[in-house]
């Protein structure tokens, strides 16, 4: 068993480090160096190693996650990329779904395709839906094209042909021709990066992969070299979007799998915490300075999806980005954070976000040049933050600055007093988050009232109780170390690899041989990637079929037991589909044929065992250091809240709401409707008072 491990999460502003030494965590945050991310990483590791009293060479495993891929796509900084596709389909990525994501905006701007039209090339070839060749590829034509691309100063090439998920022969021939013409070229092929049906997401995915691949591969190389140079000789692994680990080499080949790497770590963190506390259904809320991310976790597993929209050009607006098909922990992200800016719209209504003051200049109360009122300013005015104790006293908060900006920009326009306006800001942001969370639960066919809220990130503890009130949730867990949740999550993630394959079949005409052959090849592919990181250890295999009724345009995921299928298993698969369908939509449709479109198979190592915590019952009242006026939103009045220092609370100590539990990085607000008990792992468990 590896004893000393480091998790590193490179975010846009901060790089978070979590070092675990024989079960004891040491964490720190350093500023991200966007030009040389590996330098800040090294600095953080050194600080953490010092804190833990170890030598760098003692480290036995480094696990890394990063937003670099996402940022490269958002900022469109990547390789000069060519795209080669089937003749007649040059514009798939430009025509998208042919729809508009803003119904009433006459000046709508659509996202620019990542590869402009002049860099998109076609070859005359055609594979049919069953993998049959409708038009053969002409070897001379592809040689000519390969030569042209070799002369075109491209760094990277993406290949995406129609129906290549069913037959990759033409794509492979094209790849070979390119390799022959230009051996240095970075090449990504859609039948290898994302072999799933539907050309738009598949082409987007292979293009995104090609676009970031040279830079990410180079970065990983630099990082590995630097770590080695400093005496860290252990395995270096990456956390992928699906919440599992892969080798650095695999990550460099398929960087598109790192898109949600950091947030996925946060979801793993919440999932492990939920497991330890015996929580079967958890709603994780990760609220930072700019966004809030919401994820459903059931039985210790975060909900996953096989498509994901990245680089939205209209902040958080569904449809304004590019949809890629890659396995991902499914999260809803909305523009709600401490830095979210409040404004009054033309109808006199309070609006909060998605614009954010971020950490620079930050909220007005930071006194760093921020002039617009933010959620943090409102929290300060409502007594929820300690002006002197914020960030351990490192950032003094100035209430007067908050008051001035609210007075100046919100009070008159909204026709409210300053404290009413501040209240309207926090209620609005809480309403935005609760609406997003509820909508996500509804889309997933779940009742949100039955979930326990797991709140982490700097902002979540301030808002968790109010959010729970709005959602009808009775239990909230606020874990310690919440500021570096993703980095801790990396340390808790299993090795895993999800292999996907488009294979269209009607269940009635279930061709077992074809399916068994495909699944076997997916299994060995996934096994190989897992072994590359984990070595020869026991693994588990999960199988999901994406199924629908004939005539429907989208599928639902149906979990199946992985085995060699026989024809008689059709009824079993049908039963599983009907159960999944009914769970989502409340009904099944009789007599309609059922279809399978895509398969997904995940091989993962066993997750590190989670020590089950005995719940701490309330035993001893906490020491109250004072009282302070706090606006209780549900009661709509000012209440005297007890002030308690989290660091001084022992497991089993409890406090009745209204209370404010202070710590260095944030405060946990316990509203009048809840009481809180410290748990054995120092988490705060808040439960609704029973009247």
């Amino acid at each position: 068993m590896t004893q000393i491990r480091v998790g590193i999460d490179i975010g846009g502003t901060f790089t978070d480090i979590a070092l675990e030494n024989r079960g004891v965590l040491t964490t720190c945050k350093v500023l991200t160096d966007s030009a040389r991310p590996e330098a800040a990483t090294m600095e953080g590791i050194r600080i953490a190693a010092n804190g833990s009293g170890i030598e760098l060479s003692d480290i036995e495993q480094v696990i890394h996650g990063t937003t670099l891929v996402t940022n490269a796509l958002i900022e469109r900084i990547g390789a000069k990329t060519a795209f080669i596709t089937t003749e007649g389909f040059r514009d798939v990525i430009e025509m998208r779904s042919e729809n508009r994501f803003e119904q009433y905006d006459l000046n709508l701007k659509l996202p620019e395709p990542l590869v402009p039209r002049k860099h998109r090339f076609t070859v005359s070839e055609r594979i049919g839906p069953n993998g049959e060749v409708l038009l053969a590829l002409d070897p001379e034509e592809i040689e000519r094209l390969a030569a042209r691309i070799a002369d075109g100063e491209f760094e990277s090439v993406a290949i995406g042909f129609l129906h290549s998920y069913a037959n990759d022969a033409h794509e492979t021939m094209m790849e070979n021709a390119l390799r022959a013409a230009a051996s240095e070229l970075s090449i990504s092929r859609s039948s290898s990066v994302s072999p799933q049906m539907r050309e738009l997401p598949r082409f987007n995915t292979v293009i995104a992969n090609a676009f970031v691949k040279p830079r990410i591969a180079n970065y990983i190389e630099r990082l590995v070299a630097l770590l080695r140079n400093q005496g860290i000789d252990c395995p270096i692994l990456m956390n992928h979007s699906g919440g599992g680990l892969i080798s650095a080499e695999t990550a460099a080949e398929f960087p598109v799998r790192l898109l949600e790497s950091g947030p996925a770590g946060g979801a793993v963190f919440a999932a492990r915490l939920a497991e330890a506390h015996g929580i079967r259904r958890a709603l994780s809320l990760d609220m930072g300075g700019t966004t809030a991310k919401i994820c459903l976790i059931e039985n210790g597993t975060p909900k996953t999806a096989n498509t994901f929209e990245v680089a939205r050009t209209y902040r958080f607006k569904k449809g304004s980005g590019m949809t890629v098909s890659t396995p991902v922990v499914e999260m809803v992200e909305i523009g709600a954070g401490g830095g979210s800016i409040a404004a009054v719209d033309t109808l006199g209504r309070m609006r909060v976000g998605p614009r954010s003051a971020g950490s620079e200049p930050g909220p007005a109360c930071y006194m760093r040049g921020g002039v617009e009122p933010t959620v943090t300013d409102a929290n300060l005015l409502l007594g929820r933050l300690d002006p002197k104790g914020f960030s351990g006293g490192k950032i003094p908060l100035n209430k007067q600055f908050s008051r001035d900006t609210v007075d100046h920009r919100l009070r008159k326009a909204a026709n409210l007093t300053v404290s009413e306006a501040a209240f309207a800001v926090t209620e609005t942001v809480d309403e935005n988050m609760s609406n997003a969370a509820r909508a996500h639960a509804i889309e997933s066919g779940r009742d949100i009232e039955k979930f326990t809220l797991v709140a982490f990130g700097g902002g979540a503890p301030l808002h968790a109780c109010r959010l729970a009130e709005k959602l009808g949730i009775d239990r909230i867990v606020v874990p310690p170390g919440a500021g570096v949740g993703s980095a801790i999550g990396f340390l808790r993630a299993p090795f895993s690899y999800e292999s996907v394959r488009g294979l269209f079949q009607r269940l009635q005409e279930f061709d077992v041989d074809e399916i068994n052959a495909a699944l076997a090849s997916m299994e060995s592919e996934a096994q190989a990637f897992v072994r590359a990181g984990a070595g020869d250890v026991p693994t588990a295999t999960r199988l999901v079929a994406h199924m629908r009724y004939a005539g429907q345009g989208w599928e639902i995921p149906v979990g199946l037991t992985y085995k060699k299928f026989k024809r008689k298993h059709r009824t079993l698969i049908l039963d599983s589909f009907e159960r999944a369908y009914a769970a989502l939509f409340g009904r099944t449709i009789e007599r309609l044929p059922v279809e399978i479109t895509n398969w997904s198979l995940t091989v993962s190592t066993d997750t590190p065992p989670v020590g089950r915590l005995e719940p701490s019952l309330k035993a001893i009242p906490a020491d109250v250091s004072g009282h302070r006026d706090l606006v209780d939103a549900a009661l709509r009045k000012i209440v005297a809240a007890a002030e308690v220092r989290r660091a001084e609370m022992e497991p089993g100590q409890w406090i009745e709401g209204p209370a404010i539990i202070f710590e260095d990085e944030t405060s946990t607000i316990i509203t009048s409707a809840y009481r809180a008990v410290i748990q054995n792992d120092s988490s705060i468990l808040a439960t609704r008072k029973v009247n």
């Binding site: 779904s97 729809n99 033309t346 939509f585």
Partner: protein, 548 residues
């Protein structure tokens, strides 16, 4: 400690979230392609006086006012004394619902502490409603399918079994259609649960005060926005292909201070086929266009719609009267924004786009085995496709993008998986965007061939083949559409036609009009267009006077 207005604002946000969730539930549970891919559905909350307080923004502007008006028909027909807790009402009457029989509207009264406080309503396009099926070929609405007059789907929670039997007996897809009826009822029920939770949270039993707040705030904001449009009378007319003969669409807009009226007097008379538009649908698309140009930020509700008065003379093609066939009323409906925006151009120069392809080029195909004894199965295939939108005053038009409809296209790979056709081409159509300082959006070219063993029949319902989208402010028109075989054989733009095995159908979709004088287009933009092959070098020389 705080005034009611904060509560009202929060509750308003919540109501919008509730109706959006209602709509999401419907999209996911309803069966028909039109709901799923085209967002052909709607959901809304009404107060007891039948005033709409919130409506989901869905893919189709065609439901905007249609739904707002329909609830008052329900209240009147059912009668206040007959409205009970646990009731659900239904209709698909084109003149009392949303314009054709395929759209089923359901209304559920909301009770609180035994008092009737409002209604939830929702509409969705069902897969099949009997009759001839979805197409323009009927001569009277009776041929277009089953008409369910306003009646009780359920009374005090008991569903009317006779109604279900009637529906089942009259449609081709009884399971899906009846299933969709239950989905509609369930989505209102879900909305109701959420509304009750909100009333609990805010400790109130009524929505009347909230309704007044929403409506007054929205009405005032809309009036203020209208008052910023210079007063005057603005006219526009536009000719489109129509079905049997060209159709003239005419509008006169009157802006006087805070009021605006639009009348479609002078528009052509009714067609003998199902392209006629009930007035309620005309109002919806006219209002949509007016809102886009004048007050896009204000949510849809009774207050924000009231200041726009839209009328069409009874008996014209935009105010068809019973028993006119109306099945594909969306084709002409989609042109209404072009007409309305064109009139507004004089009032608000520099705001509205040039004309676009506008009407969708949806194609319904029937693949039939060449040899009936071959054992091959027949297949029906539906594709949604869009041409280019008109150029905007500040930016180029959008290529191959739906406007005003919000339809999405389907994946070619997915389409080929379910139907025996090969789509050889689906890409942008060079030179089809109207030249201008801002270029019109490009149309697209689609080529389709029946696969081995099959012939293909398709139903053409295409427009802008004889009447392309016009440019604005000196911009040139977009390219007209074309329907042909790849061997050059011309086909008709309307009606059922044949593509034999071995032949390929080619659809060239119209482009959007240009905006402003092409010669004033930025030369780097022309260079980019030529490099990207959106525009050929010849065209760039001819239309833009471009010299590389």
């Amino acid at each position: 400690m705080k005034p009611a207005s904060i509560d009202y604002q929060i509750m308003w946000d919540r109501l919008v979230a509730v109706v959006e969730e209602q709509a999401t539930t419907l999209v996911r549970t309803a069966f028909s392609t039109s709901v799923r891919e085209a967002g052909d559905l709607s959901a809304g909350l009404f107060d007891r006086k039948c005033r709409m307080l919130a409506q989901a923004v869905t893919g189709t502007p065609g439901h905007v006012n249609a739904m707002a008006e329909s609830v008052s028909h329900f209240a009147r027909e059912i009668g206040q004394r007959n409205i009970f807790d646990g009731d659900v009402y239904v209709t698909n009457d084109p003149w009392q619902g949303t314009g054709h029989l395929h759209d089923v509207t359901m209304v559920t009264p909301v009770f609180r502490e035994g008092r009737h406080i409002g209604y939830f309503a929702c509409t969705a396009h069902v897969v099949d409603i009997g009759g001839r099926g979805f197409g323009p070929d009927a001569h009277e609405v009776y041929e277009e399918g089953l008409l369910i007059p306003i009646c009780k789907f359920a009374e005090k929670r008991t569903v009317n079994p006779l109604l279900l039997r009637l529906v089942r007996a009259n449609v081709r897809t009884p399971d899906q259609t009846v299933g969709d009826l239950f989905s509609l009822a369930a989505c209102n029920e879900a909305g109701m649960r959420r509304l009750r939770a909100m009333l609990d949270e805010f400790g109130t039993d009524e929505i009347a005060g909230l309704g007044d707040y929403i409506i007054e705030t929205s009405r005032n904001a809309t009036r203020k926005a209208i008052s910023e449009v210079p007063s005057g009378t603005y006219r526009n007319k536009m000719q489109v292909d129509g079905y049997e003969t060209p159709v003239q669409l005419k509008v006169t807009i009157n802006v006087a201070g805070e009021t605006l009226s639009a009348d479609f007097g002078g528009t052509s008379g009714m067609s003998s086929l199902g392209v006629n538009v009930p007035e309620v649908y005309t109002r919806a698309y006219a209002c949509y266009a007016l809102k886009c140009a004048i007050a896009p930020e204000i949510p849809n509700n009774a207050g924000s719609l009231e200041p726009f008065r839209v009328t069409a003379p009874k008996g014209c093609i935009l105010a068809a009267s019973r028993p006119a066939p109306v099945s594909v009323r969306h084709v002409l409906g989609h042109f209404i924004p072009d007409v309305v925006l064109g009139a507004l151009h004089a009032a608000m120069p520099g705001t509205v786009p040039a004309e676009g392809a506008s009407a969708l080029w949806n194609i319904q195909m029937s693949a039939r085995p060449m040899n009936p004894e071959s054992g091959l199965k027949a297949h029906e295939i539906l594709m949604f496709n869009s041409g280019g939108t008109g150029a905007r005053p500040q930016s180029d038009g959008l290529s191959a993008t739906a406007f005003p409809s919000g339809v999405s296209t389907m994946s070619v790979e997915a389409t080929e998986q379910v139907g025996p056709i090969t789509i050889w081409r689906k890409e942008l159509r060079q030179n089809s965007g109207g030249s201008g300082a801002r270029r019109g959006g490009l149309g697209q070219i689609i080529e389709i061939e029946p696969r081995n063993g099959y012939d293909l029949w398709f139903n053409a319902m295409f427009d802008r083949v004889d009447n392309p989208a016009r440019g604005r402010a000196g911009g040139k028109p977009g390219s007209a559409g074309a329907v042909e075989l790849t061997d050059g054989t011309k086909l008709r733009a309307k009606g059922r036609q044949f593509v034999g095995n071995g032949q390929r159908l080619r659809l060239s979709l119209p482009g959007g009009g240009g905006y402003g004088d092409p010669h004033s287009r930025d030369s780097s933009a022309i260079k980019d267009d030529v490099e990207a092959e959106y525009v050929s070098m010849n065209e760039a020389r001819r239309d833009y006077g471009y010299k590389p």
